[in-house]
């Protein structure tokens, strides 16, 4: 760690992993409710479990992005954060606000929470992913502003790199588009139209800039490839992201009351949204193949390559699967959407946060990389979580195809609940696979405890080992 203030990232990363665990536990509860409908009813109804599942995801990814920014911005800017104390203070405010919100979800009926927090003064609750009480949303804005002040000030007064500028554009966009969560008219079409300005322009817009810059940073550090090359790739990738993704918002405007021309705009532009993800995959493998050093942190490299591949599959391929309007007419709002959502979030955002944690955490703990045993555990967790997510996606896709056929396509469309009974086998398989994911997560957390007990690996040791293996290092160099 070159600058002491980078260390504030540690807090954010630890909280992110804790919330990740909570997200998975509630995911398993929901998965079971899909097949045992009265599980935990009425204590934790499905909608409450789902709120915790999705909101914990959003908050831990935001924690991960903030941690990533606090870690990489000083290193890129070649100066300490302008206000490390503010970063710490905002961490505790954010954590307490998130914890109180989750406690509210779990222990107060949602309507009571709305009343307690004065939702009628500025109604913003009860919309998917934006369920947080208005006061929590205001808290998020305050934390985001303080965060942007800290990060922006550090970037503008230090060395300006492309990685930092792209990250800053992504983070400013994140904050700006979140403001649309405060717009909630009675007119349902307008409500939905601008709700997507938060949701779509986040995950298929500015978040991809954050993803790109974190990935570029990790690749620069672990491969030693010339910064100029990485930066050019980064610009091209994010250019394609926004060129396709902004108008690509149109794929959400097919059936919500907006004009039919969106079926053309949305289909054409979102059909191109896989391109930047494909480029990201080519980019990551290219950089690793052209590496000029052998970084001892193999686990971080694996996460970086993994995110490039899985983002392409989950966001790119599974997005394309149902993005053309004639297809979406049948698949809209089915398990196909759920399948895509799971793999896209895991591939693009979970894995990039785990990549930067994997790279930065050992360094913040005073070693270049974790011990061999710790890394092997971490790589096991990578494969368990990634493979189980692939299967979760496949099972949900199978459920979705059957659902579409039985409920929407066949000559005698069946009722929703009858169809759900018919496809229950896939929900069982999804739940079992979810347990494998949980095992992967346990191994992941365990790898940190193993790492803390053993001396880390260093570049020197890795180079030494490679020389011993008949000049492999020379071949790579």
């Amino acid at each position: 760690m070159k600058y002491p203030s980078q260390g504030v990232a540690r807090l954010y990363f630890i909280a992110a992993i804790a919330l990740f665990a909570a997200q998975i536990l509630f995911g398993l509860i929901m998965g079971l409710q899909y097949v045992i409908g009265d599980f935990l009813f009425p204590a934790i109804p499905f909608n409450v479990a789902r709120m915790v599942h999705t909101n914990a995801l959003i908050v831990w990814l935001l924690m991960g992005f903030m941690g990533a920014a606090y870690y990489l911005v000083p290193e890129e800017a070649e100066r300490d954060l302008i206000a490390p104390w503010l970063a710490k203070l905002m961490f505790w405010i954010f954590l307490v606000a998130a914890a109180l919100t989750v406690v509210g979800y779990l222990f107060v009926p949602y309507a009571g929470l709305a009343k307690m927090t004065g939702n009628e003064l500025l109604p913003t609750m009860g919309r998917e992913f934006l369920e947080q009480p208005t006061i929590t949303k205001i808290g998020i804005v305050i934390v985001a502003l303080a965060f942007l002040f800290n990060i922006g000030g550090t970037i503008l007064t230090g060395r300006k790199t492309v990685v930092n500028l792209v990250l800053l554009i992504g983070l400013v966009g994140l904050a700006v588009f979140f403001l649309f969560s405060f717009y909630n008219p009675t007119n349902l079409v307008l409500d939905k139209y601008f709700w997507w300005w938060v949701v779509h322009l986040w995950v298929e817009g500015v978040w991809e800039l954050i993803l790109g810059s974190i990935l570029a940073f990790v690749l620069i550090k672990t491969t030693g490839v010339d910064r100029e090359v990485v930066e050019k790739w980064l610009y091209v990738i994010i250019a394609m992201t926004l060129i396709t993704g902004i108008i690509g918002t149109g794929h959400h405007y097919y059936w919500i009351g907006t004009p039919e021309y969106w079926q053309w705009w949305g289909s054409i532009f979102s059909a191109m949204e896989p391109i930047p993800f494909f480029m990201m995959t080519v980019f990551a493998f290219n950089m690793v193949n052209r590496r000029r050093r052998n970084h001892p942190n193999k686990a971080a490299m694996l996460w970086a390559l993994g995110t490039a591949v899985m983002a392409f599959l989950g966001a790119g391929v599974w997005g394309f699967l149902h993005t053309l309007s004639p297809v979406n007419y049948y698949t809209h709002g089915t398990q196909i959407t759920a399948a895509h959502g799971h793999m896209a979030f895991y591939g693009a955002y979970v894995m990039i946060v785990l990549a930067i944690i994997s790279y930065a955490m050992p360094i913040m703990n005073g070693r270049e990389a974790n011990s061999q045993r710790s890394q092997v555990l971490e790589m096991w967790s990578f494969w368990l979580m990634t493979v189980s997510m692939v299967f979760i996606t496949l099972f949900l896709t199978a459920a979705g195809i059957l659902q579409v056929y039985l409920q929407r396509f066949s000559d005698a469309p069946m009722q929703f609940m009858l169809v759900q009974d018919k496809i229950a086998i896939f929900y069982w398989l999804r739940e079992l696979t979810g347990l494998v994911f949980l095992i992967g997560l346990v191994l992941y957390i365990w790898s940190f405890f193993v790492a803390s007990k053993e001396p880390g690996l260093t570049s020197a040791a890795v180079d030494q080992a490679l020389k011993g293996n008949g000049g492999t290092a020379a071949a790579i160099a």
């Binding site: 009813f41 499905f46 109604p123 492309v162 926004l242 108008i247 929407r408």
Partner: protein, 150 residues
């Protein structure tokens, strides 16, 4: 990438492309906002009418009870319970049927099955929710969903 394609060119494509397509998106948004009055049934939302107030109240109740956490509405939301954008049509264009269903849910659920919670709504609240769902079903959604099962 070829040497002739420089980082500056890549940067210019990023800034130029993003700004251009964002402006195009704003233009399309403006055009959409001009077209919406013909499609989104805003005429029934007038807060100076009894119906307009009922629909607004119904939407507030929809939100404050997190209905979207199980149901989808015009295809968006959770996929645990039926689509409600067309529930008015599915229930035979009958608000009374909607109200009766909501009222009939057992407080302790149904053993082994998914069941909607009992919300204990007052009669005026039930009417408001039913009117909100009726309004949602009247939005011009380009023919979606494919059939009344949602």
């Amino acid at each position: 990438m070829a040497q002739t394609f420089t980082k500056t060119m890549a940067r210019n494509i990023f800034y130029g492309g993003s700004v251009f397509f964002f402006l195009l998106f704003l233009a399309l948004t403006f055009d959409t906002s001009m077209a919406l009055p013909e499609r989104d049934r805003r005429e029934v939302l007038d807060p100076n009418t009894e119906l307009g107030r009922q629909i607004a109240h119904g939407k507030a109740l929809w939100e404050e009870n997190n209905c979207i956490g199980c149901h989808s509405l015009l295809g968006e939301g959770a996929y645990f319970a039926p689509e409600l954008g067309n529930v008015y049509v599915r229930f035979g264009n009958n608000t009374e049927a909607i109200k009766a269903f909501i009222q009939s849910r057992p407080a302790e659920g149904i053993p082994g099955r998914r069941s909607m919670p009992q919300f204990n709504f007052a009669p005026d609240q039930l009417e408001a929710i039913a009117q909100f769902l009726k309004y949602a079903s009247e939005i011009n959604t380009a023919g979606w969903p494919p059939n009344k099962q949602g």
